[in-house]
């Protein structure tokens, strides 16, 4: 049933996000630390496990695929609700501090990617 997939996704989401909240509290940070990442890992492990047990049906999978496919429309909705006015009208400091470090990080990506690959044990 499709709802099984959605429920599995919801389970992974809630456990992962809770872990992120707890981790944030533990290290004294006022933010969720890696909640989405934990949720993704939990979902991968669980679906893999169910797959091997032969308990994973195509329809359950569709429940997750639906949300997977809704990802881009949701990102578009998110873009449409950003505070773009403030970003555009906030003056030169905000614009330059927003852009220049981002560009520097961007151009160092190949270098970091290469460095990390070579250091791989």
């Amino acid at each position: 049933m499709i709802i099984y997939g959605v429920a599995l996704l919801a389970f992974s989401f809630i456990v992962g996000q809770l872990l992120g909240e707890v981790l944030g509290k533990c290290i004294g940070v006022n933010a969720n630390v890696g909640g989405v990442g934990f949720a993704m890992l939990i979902l991968m492990l669980l679906s893999d496990w169910l797959h091997r047990k032969g308990r994973w049906s195509i329809t359950s999978n569709q429940g997750i695929q639906f949300w997977n496919q809704m990802y881009i429309p949701i990102i578009v909705a998110m873009a449409a609700t950003q505070n773009v006015r403030v970003a555009v009208s906030s003056g030169l400091v905000a614009i330059l501090v927003g852009i220049i470090p981002a560009v520097i990080c961007f151009v160092s990506i190949p270098w970091i990617a290469k460095f990390a690959k070579h250091r791989l044990p």
Binding site: V36, M44, P73, V76, T81, Q82, I99, A102
Partner: protein, 254 residues
Amino acid sequence: MSEQILGFLDKNALIMAFLIVGLIMYSSTLISRRLTKGKIPMPAIAIILGLIMAYLGGMYTQGEKGIADVRLFSGLAIMGGSMFRDFAIVATALGASLLVIKKAGWAGAVSLCAGVTLSFVFGVWIAFLFGYKDVISLTTIGAGACTYIVGPVTGAAIGASSDLIALSIATGVVKAIIVAIGTPVAAKYIGLNNPHTAMVFGGMMGTNTGVMAGLAATDPSLVPYGAITATFYTGLGCLICPSVFYLLMQGLFS
């Protein structure tokens, strides 16, 4: 009569948002195919249309939630809010390979540390050039160069004034928009076409909004890899900006 219709649409705001986004996606497909002959991918156009709508909505209402401050479009705030966004992103994990993530985990960790540090250092440097000389201002603006959550969290922790906090939020929003628009354009120059680089990309840029929109517009199959590292960035920034970096700044400037 029009009030009744608006009231009806208010009650069904999320459904209305599905319809509106569907129309945006459809017009983006047409623009992508007809006007750019498919050279600019549909998601990139849809995201840019979304940003333009957000700007127009903000100018019209002077609000903070882009087009969602216009009553007819209020459902977009629910659909594009963090709950649905994170839910959909977790769903993309199903297409990712655990093996690749394990292998690139070290690269992700390196890029996270490098990303937060580089953003902070260059953010501080530019703020310094603009005449900010006190440690609290510099640290808050530098944190804003990480993400629009790290900025205000850091500012609040070290006692920055509210206009500085607003500035650091604006900085983070600028970064998110630049990453969203710039990524598909620049992807080929930095070799952003494989999971390994996508994980490094997520850790280097860090801004969830920007990374996820940028990767969606570049290659949707890379989204889970970028997302899995980016999700640690804001937490890491909130951890080290008001503590280690603030102390280092104090040592450096006094």
